[in-house]
Subunit: 364 residues, 2 copies
């Protein structure tokens, strides 16, 4: 059976959709047309039948285990991606009379705030979007509003390569978009009103979004909404209010099984730090490379840097690709180089990139 | 490479998620880990890169070809299923001051009306939900409102097995939920304000929803909504406002390629009629089986009937399953037997069921 490893040796640095664990891909391919001897694919089965139910509930249970989710939190599997959440959160928890606090540290947090502004009042707690090097605000720069309905933040910025290593303490329920670093490290779920993540970086394939939400907070949501957009409705129906995206959820199930087999998120975190450190060491070895994120805020998921000129960056990308290191180009809005190294990315790829960076710097 | 056909001979009568065409499943399995020699899966690639773009735009173009979609209509690929549309339609096109007309011929149309009632006023044009045999309203039973914002209907009822064979003429833009019969027959798109369908019956796997909408109608939508829920925003972004469900869209692309290779929807319609007729002939051959849908409104997609007793129905289901005919149980809300025979379902499966029905009737 053909797999990425045997047919072509490629290191996939895509920022998302990103690579999935190779054992997951291999298993999914093998049982693609015939799941557990049924003669059918898992995607061709009823979403309420016993076989799919095991997968669906298994994915939820695995997430609870991996993140030690307390009993007073729900784990929901929804559609619409993180940007669906940008809209659903204010629709559920904000009104024209109330205010929500948004911390803007990048493009995604700003988009989230824009969606909320349609529904109610938004207070920008801090805005570091234009700061270079990219950085997070200090505690004394945070201008909280009184009686905020909630606080929204982005835990890791894929574009600029910065990440919150400790979370701010808030009065209001804290909601974090963890799309690009969920399952990459342990987090204290009970310090959040909600966390959410679309799947295509650390959890699997695009099409399913995981939401972990405090039950009391959920119950406080707006009732005067179409059922489809009420969190409480999805919770009551065990995330089968309507037909869920069964194949993306099946992949989520396999990825979370794989994460448990790796030793859980503490082991994954350690591995992620080792991987990122290999690249950051190469970055800091000379002044040939120009890091674009403040050192204290560097992301373990996305390593960003520039070279002397765009011409040299293009040369870098071309030579890297020739050596099987693909998708290292920075986000279209900022340019430069970006190495996205989510949970599934192998240490060998980080080592290969570091070695290439050393050679390339020596050569130019 | 294992496929359903070679490993276990199963006829999958699932009502949805339903079976996919076998050549599609085989191709998807073969290129699962290594798409076009890239060393990556299509699901591991950027949703804005050239390789995925071909798939994404290809799916949209195929739908335009298959349904002869006029230039003044948009084809959108969204998330959230048909029930996402139940909510998005009134959010875009209904206000507390206006009224929408809903034709209720089954569970799904009623759910759609319930969602609209949260947003504005709903006039139930007709309600045949409780009628037995299941049936559609006659033209003289339709109580239209004046100046409706739109009319909503369900073109095929999967639960009761009835289907509109000619569509009502309406003053207001007509919106049809075609989840269970899209691509099963030619339709005159220009007689609709919009049609929509989630993918898991005739278009592929759960997780992507196709919306075909008149551009003028779309432009008339409510601007004061989060961007994520505005049709116009998705149209402007070519259905890549945010990360689309790339793997379900890839499957949609393969299924629509397959549909074109079958000769398009006219050829598929002919094949569907042949398939359904084989089963309806078996149904009508004696009074052993009790059809549950009015003869004039019978669906070509879902054939529904009952037997003398629940005990006998269970016996029927058990013996059918022993012969490899699975998922013939009627919807949990109505019981009985249901054979769902969407586009991908093979004629051999219909013939096998008809032969089994004859034998079973003779035996009992």
């Amino acid at each position: 059976m053909a797999s990425a490893a045997t047919t072509k040796n490629v290191y996939n640095f895509n920022a998302g959709p990103g690579m999935l664990p190779q054992p997951v891909m291999k298993q999914a391919q093998e049982e693609f047309c015939n799941y557990q001897g049924t003669g059918m694919s898992i995607m061709e089965m009823s979403h309420r039948g016993p076989i799919y139910s095991e997968v669906h509930n298994g994915a939820i249970e695995n997430i609870k285990k991996l993140l030690a989710v307390p009993d007073n939190y729900e784990v929901l599997l929804l559609q619409g991606g993180a940007q669906g959440q940008f809209a659903m959160i204010p629709m559920n928890f904000l009104t024209p009379e109330t205010t929500a606090d948004y911390i803007q540290t990048g493009t995604w947090g700003k988009k989230a705030a824009n969606e909320a502004q349609v529904v109610g009042n938004v207070n920008i707690v801090a805005d570091t979007i234009k700061d270079r090097p990219a950085r997070l605000p200090n505690a004394d720069e945070l201008n909280w509003s009184k009686d905020a309905a909630y606080v929204h933040m982005t835990s890791n910025e894929t574009i600029s390569g910065i990440q919150w290593h400790t979370f701010p303490k808030t009065q209001a329920p804290l909601i974090a978009d963890m799309t690009s670093d969920i399952l990459s490290r342990p987090i204290a779920i009970d310090t959040f009103g909600a966390v959410y993540a679309s799947a295509q970086k650390n959890l699997g394939a695009a099409g399913v979004t995981v939401v972990i939400m405090n039950k009391d907070f959920m119950a406080s949501g707006n009732k005067n909404l179409p059922a489809m957009f009420r969190y409480s409705e999805h919770a009551e129906q065990g995330s089968r209010y309507n037909t869920p995206p069964t194949y993306p959820i099946y992949l989520l199930y396999l990825v979370t099984q794989w994460a448990l087999e790796q030793g859980g998120v503490a082991a994954i975190e350690k591995h992620n730090h080792t991987k990122a450190q290999v690249i950051y060491d190469a970055l800091d070895a000379s002044d040939f490379y120009k890091p674009t994120a403040a050192k204290k805020d560097r992301s373990w998921m996305n390593v960003t840097f520039r070279l002397e000129s765009e011409e040299l960056e293009n040369q870098f990308l071309k030579e890297a690709e020739n050596q099987g290191m693909v998708a290292l180009k920075g986000h279209r809005s900022v340019g430069g180089i970006r190495a996205s190294i989510y949970n599934a990315f192998p240490i060998e790829g980080a080592q290969a990139l570091a070695a290439f960076m050393k050679d390339f710097a020596a050569k130019h």
